[in-house]
């Protein structure tokens, strides 16, 4: 898609298209040119930009916190260690308030979710045209730098959380206990199909709502930045600045919500009903 004098719809379409590499029925393994080709690739495709940015930010998170962990000592903390300890203490407090079992996984999981999602959301504050134009100049057709505006990214994480919910439910209550919880309530054993339907929906809704809440918030935010970018330049700052400031709240809040709900779901999986 040419960016020389695009129509507004072309412009929006371009900014919302991922750089996709996959198996196209006609062209074989290749980069998709346009959303049409990308959707024709079906499941056998990968969003290179989403993967690259999210993994890059994840590595940055791991590196930063590894630096803090290596510097960790019982004396007076300085520099990176201060920040890392602040985050660890915040997450630890949130986990301890909600989750009353003992688990060596949940706290680091919550820390990873919180920081990684925050970093990915933070990409939303990079001016919307910057990355696409820079990569366009380098010959890359599409570049969407906010991984959390890709439903694959959010759903990938929430499925991870979902698998943990099932794992812990079975570990704590046994297969029978978990199935019993799904089938024998709220209406007793004569209503098993109905119970299964209700509880099944409740169970499936957890990862779906986790993923779609994050995705929806960030996608909508990104879309509004793109729409503002379509306005005449002398109006843009007037809308873009307040929206960006408001968005600072949103990106932190969404990271926090994802983390807290993960903790809540996992502590629910640890409890008997």
């Amino acid at each position: 898609m040419a960016l020389q004098n695009p129509t507004p719809s072309e412009y929006i379409q371009h900014h919302l298209t991922n750089l996709t590499y996959g198996y196209h029925p006609d062209n074989g393994w290749s980069f998709a040119h346009g959303a049409q080709e990308a959707s024709e690739m079906g499941f056998l495709a990968i969003h290179v930009d989403t993967m690259a940015w999210s993994v890059g930010l994840g590595i940055f998170f791991c590196w930063l916190f590894r630096v803090g962990a290596k510097a960790a000592h019982a004396g007076v903390p300085t520099g990176v260690l201060n920040f890392v300890e602040l985050m660890v203490e915040f997450v630890d407090k949130s986990v301890k308030e909600t989750f009353h079992g003992t688990s060596s996984l949940i706290a680091p999981l919550a820390l990873t979710i919180c920081c990684w999602i925050f970093l990915m959301n933070l990409m939303d504050l990079v001016p919307v045209d910057l990355a696409p134009y820079l990569f366009m100049a380098a010959g890359v057709e599409y570049m969407k730098i906010v991984p959390t505006t890709d439903v694959n990214a959010t759903l990938g994480m929430s499925i991870g959380v979902f698998l943990l919910i099932i794992f812990y439910s079975i570990q704590i209550k046994g297969v029978g206990g978990f199935l019993g919880e799904l089938t024998l309530q709220p209406f007793g054993k004569w209503m098993i199909p109905f119970n299964l339907l209700l509880e099944g929906v409740g169970l499936i809704a957890k990862p779906i709502s986790l993923a779609l809440r994050l995705f929806g918030n960030l996608y909508a935010g990104e879309l509004i930045f793109i729409l503002i970018a379509l306005l005449p330049f002398y109006l843009q700052w007037f809308l873009s600045v307040p929206w960006a400031i408001f968005h600072i709240l949103v990106i932190v809040l969404q990271a926090f919500i994802f983390m807290m709900l993960t903790i809540v779901y996992l502590s629910m999986a640890h409890e008997h009903h």
Binding site: F43, A45, M51, G58, C62, A69, V88, P108, L109, W116
Partner: protein
């Protein structure tokens, strides 16, 4: 907005990051935090203990000072007593010495006076004899008047 392999890729990346965080990030930091908590608690305890020690040391100092003060007054009293005793003794000694010297001086004087009287007496007897000889114009027979002379000397 297609669901595709990115989903699986994200799931794998997520898992790896969580495991990394669980293995290499969380334990050292939370360990350091727990250790620091312990150290601070110990430090506060030590500070409390030091304050208590200081308090007890202060009271001990107070006690010792009091004791030292009473000791000093006792010593002063003793010293005073002793000094007055020494002075008294010295006075007694001096008095005794003076009396002794005076007595010996008096004895000497008495002795000297007796001697002088004796020699005077002898001289007077002799003079009396010489005077009598001159008056009588004749030698007094010493032997004949020996008894008379002795009586005269006695009378003087």
């Amino acid at each position: 907005m297609n669901l595709n392999l990115t989903l699986i890729g994200q799931l794998i990346a997520f898992t790896i990051f969580v495991i990394f965080c669980m293995k290499y990030v969380w334990p050292p930091i939370s360990g350091a935090l727990a250790e620091r908590q312990k150290k601070i608690a110990e430090g506060l305890d030590a500070a409390d203990k030091a304050a208590r020690d200081l308090e007890s040391a202060k009271s001990q100092i107070e006690d010792e000072l009091k004791q030292a003060r009473t000791q000093v007054t006792e010593l002063l009293e003793q010293a005073n007593k002793r000094s007055s005793q020494i002075v008294e003794e010295a006075q007694d000694k001096a008095r005794a010495e003076a009396e002794k010297i005076m007595a010996s001086a008096q004895a000497q004087i008495a002795q000297d006076a007796a001697q002088a009287r004796e020699s005077l007496r002898a001289d007077v007897a002799k003079l009396a004899v010489v005077g009598a000889e001159r008056v009588l114009g004749a030698t007094v027979d010493q032997a004949a008047h020996k008894k008379l002379l002795a009586e005269l000397a006695e009378e003087l």
